[in-house]
Amino acid sequence: MKIINCPLNGPRNISEFVHGGEVREMPNPTTCTDKEWADYVFYSNNIAGIVTEWWLHAPSGYWFIAVRHTVSDEVIRTFDASELFNQRIDFYMLDSVEAPL
């Protein structure tokens, strides 16, 4: 059984983790085209190479990010999601310049 190094809990059996799919950037849902949105929702790149993925350590409810090679299945690095997501994200109406609320 594979071991993944959880940034919070250390090396654990992969059975303690849930795979959350690739980290993908959401196109602006207000301004993107239907096709761009469909690409985002339905299509995966599924590359043979290095991917960045969401993983959940289920017992501690902790989402983190892993960099993995899909051919060798080697997990190259794991890190806290705040490395990639470090500021608040807001959504705005098309005709609005102000934040909601």
Partner: protein, 226 residues
């Protein structure tokens, strides 16, 4: 005065239907088994502490709140530390802390946990958690702690790999569990915290795993006095 039974009070343990204990006492408004028939050769015992007080806080100001009431802050996540009064502080992440009551104190000592909840909780960035109800609390004491857990859990919980003060948030018998290695009466023990709805399952699984080591159910006072 009629004898105390597990149903005497409205607060009830999640595993009391599994207990074979005949005698109970009141602790913090609930029935806690005081002893069971203990065979002298029992080297391992399992005790239900679900009715003892515990609470938790999460948020950027949780550590500050604990400090303000004189509790210690373990240096890193997944470490536990005893307070001067014997409460056990668990640090489960950078900003999540659980506090378990002293298992070995006078009745009055248990009110400390209530104080934590009632008095000085900061208005923001510090949220009380529901671990009194979301989790059951079982205590495994005696020899072979690591070997018993090795029958349920894929993390090395031997004393070399999992020293005193360590916490593992992991899976045992296919349910989520928090294992804390601490001292009870000067002896090493594991506190096990699991989903309260799965407590009976964990109880059964542990009893089964203990059989090989002649493990027995015990009450809190029997443990304290042994």
């Amino acid at each position: 005065m009629p004898a105390i039974t597990p149903q005497t009070f409205k607060k009830r343990s999640f595993v009391y239907h599994k207990l074979s204990a005949k005698h109970y006492t009141e602790i913090a408004g609930a029935a806690v088994s005081i002893h069971s028939v203990v065979e002298p050769q029992a080297t391992v015992s399992l005790c239900d502490l679900s009715n003892l007080p515990r609470t938790g806080f999460r948020g950027l100001k949780a550590a500050q709140h604990l400090l303000s009431v004189g509790l210690p802050i373990p240096a890193k996540p997944n470490q536990a530390e005893k307070s001067a009064n014997g409460e056990l502080v668990l640090r489960l992440s950078q900003k999540e802390f659980w506090i378990l009551a002293n298992t070995n104190c006078e009745q009055s000592g248990y009110s400390k946990i209530d104080n934590l909840l009632n008095t000085t909780v900061p208005k923001e960035q510090c949220f009380a958690l529901y671990c009194q109800d979301s989790h059951a609390w079982l205590l495994l004491t005696g020899e072979y702690l690591g070997k018993i857990m090795a029958k349920l859990c894929g993390v090395d919980l031997s004393s070399e790999a999992f020293p005193l003060g360590s916490i593992a948030q992991t899976s045992a018998g296919r349910i989520n569990i928090i294992v804390v290695h601490h001292h009870f009466n000067g002896q090493p023990c594991f506190s096990l915290l699991c989903d309260s709805a799965a407590a009976e399952y964990l109880w059964d699984s542990l009893c089964d795993a203990m059989q090989e080591f002649k493990g027995k159910e015990r009450g809190l006072l029997a443990l304290t006095n042994s």
